[in-house]
Amino acid sequence: MRIAFAGNPNSGKTTMYNALTGENEKIGNWAGVTIGRKEYPIKTEYAGSGEEAIAVDLPGAYSMSPFTPEESITSGFVRDEKPDSIINIVDATNLNRSLFFTTQLLELGIPVIVALNKSDLAEKQKITIDEKLLSEKLGCPVIKTVSTDNEGLIEVVKEAVASKGKEQKAPYVQADIDLHDKSQVDAEDRKRYAFVNEIAKQVEKRAILAKEETREDKIDKVLGNKVAGIIIFAAVMFVVFYVSQSWLGPIIADWLVAWIEVFQGWVATQMESASPLLQAIIADGIVGGVGAVVGFLPLVMVMYFLIALLEDCGYMARVSAIMDPIFKRVGLSGKSIIPIIISTGCGIPGIMASKTIRDERERRATAMLTTFIPCGAKIPVIALFAGAFFSGSAWVSAAMYFGGILLIFLGALLIKFITGYKYRKSFFIMEMPNYKLPSLKRACFSMLERAKAYIIKAATIILVCNCVVQIMQTFNWQGELVAEGMENTSILASIATPIAVLFIPLGFGVWQLAAAAVTGFIAKENVVGTIAVVYSITNFIDTEELALVGGANEVAMTMGLTTVTALSYLVFNLYTPPCFAAIGAMNSELKSAKWLWGAIGLQFCTGYTVSYLVYQIGTIATQGTVGNGFLPGLIAIIIMVLVVASVARHSRRRFDREYALHGGKTGAAV
């Protein structure tokens, strides 16, 4: 049997779903986290030994007539796919609003069980709800639950399973009206609300009126303050990056890398008798390359843990509200900050999170720009270059994230300029959920899930890439082994060298780095993996050792980069189009080939231009002359600017034509 989990946004549906199924779907303390439906069987300890019960988690909805895409998924599913019963998760701290949806669900004829969730929060706010009376009035079971504590869950599932096949009687039935007539629909909705108000009045007692200022409101005043709020937010994010990439992360990584080296040594001894070629491929290429990437895992894990805490406590909604005025100026929504923060973990869920933005242009712009903020896969790249060239300074990574945000703003302005939508009025409304102490358990789960995904990715995609790269650099086109010092005759070199020409104006026109950048499109971690393979270096984390071993670092010398060119290379890899998987996510979100190629074009041009500027300006600053390829690079960038300008002009002319009052076509499609 199938049981649907329906209810208002942020009422605790997914938390309950995770508890009952053992799955680990994404949760966050703000409305709009669940964006699609998920289903999975309920564990037998809850469902009993009878027929299998499948839980279907749906996005939050305020009512059956949909306003947002999430609501239409819910109302569509419930209406068309007729689940056997519905568990309606109701936020006990907002009974009045929640019951509107409840009464609609009760009209469907499918058995409904109301889970009065967040009962612990309701108690804290001195709200008492008479669930027996409520149950009488609604005509369905009402069970108090606390889904973060597994309280009441067994009863809820038991009732749901027992209700199969029964008919649900509705306490309130909507009159038969013409659903297309807005005024009739309005009138009916008001009647329904009046019914709901009456029930709530009888069933709920509040010792503290909702409008009284609470301690949370006082906190919100500080956090939401125009100036202090932003400073606090910047400080919070800086702490997250610092702890994960410059303090706790590297400490754990040090320990891990030591073990990886031991493993590498063991593999080498095991293979002593094998051919040197095989030794090179396996010990250096595979173990070394993958090991280099896995060595950075602790940094990513700590980051994920901290971001999960942030998402759970309810702060994100406040951040969204603070950022709205700023984001509005560049043509984005305050809601755009949430995909951006999620993207610091991984860009793919970040891009998907932009679904909650209602305005189409704001949504598309967010999806396109959110990958400018460095994701978890880019952390190894940042850490590598910060360690090898900047003595592991925390300011490098801070600058990369700050740069990402700056580019998001500039990119948004550019999109606004190109699409020409200047006078669009957009609305911002975001529910402020209750603050809660973030669950350490949840954060650990999230961190371990991510670690698992990271290791799997390393053991599959990155492994394969490293193998291929290693083989391609070991052989030349005649199938012979390449001699020491003759690496530039290898297959890899011959393919990468033409590409490297493009990078000369950026300061890294070397085939090895070009190859690494290209493999970065398969997975950003590959930049590190490929560099490890191509330069036969495996320990990137131990910056102290590197510093002790040789001034200017062995790594730096091997790669033949200066600080300027290293920074330029880093910037290029961070701000170019993301990995193919993320591009795929962008495609499904943008839903238009034109926008997709525009996005890729924008990202590539941005990475190229910023990298060019860093290299040329840096070279002028440190050496007093321009770098290599100054003129060709400048020409390339001028061409990019001209293309953008012409696209903008074309798009604006079309805009003007459509909206011209006289002489223009009317009703032209966008």
């Binding site: 907002n94 509107f100 008001r190 909702a210 409008k211 200022e213 609305f427 911002f428 409304i429 402020m432």
Partner: protein
């Protein structure tokens, strides 16, 4: 008689204009009654309704910052809204 009627109509029209107030003009902490939602965006009107913000229902401003964003209390829920939404929510001037 004609003169008196004209003056009465004029005064009535001025009074109507004065009564049209939206949340951007409202005070913090006072519970107002919503008069109507004025917007071109139908879906916004429906959305606000579902949250419990419609004519005849109470709404309170919990806090407001200088940018015009404010936190509203609508039916036990707190929502952060921008000045565009506040503009759309028209309220009765008598408390």
């Amino acid at each position: 008689m004609y003169g008196d009627g004209a003056i009465y109509v004029q005064v009535f029209q001025i009074k109507e204009k004065m009564i049209d107030m939206n949340l951007n003009d409202a005070d913090i902490g006072v519970t107002y009654t919503v008069k109507e939602i004025v917007t071109d965006d139908d879906e916004l009107g429906s959305f606000l309704f579902r949250l419990g913000c419609y004519s005849g229902e109470p709404v309170t401003i919990i806090s407001r910052n200088r940018k015009g964003n404010m936190v509203l209390l609508i039916k036990d829920g707190r929502y952060n809204v921008d000045s565009n939404i506040a503009e759309a929510i028209h309220i009765e001037t008598e408390a």
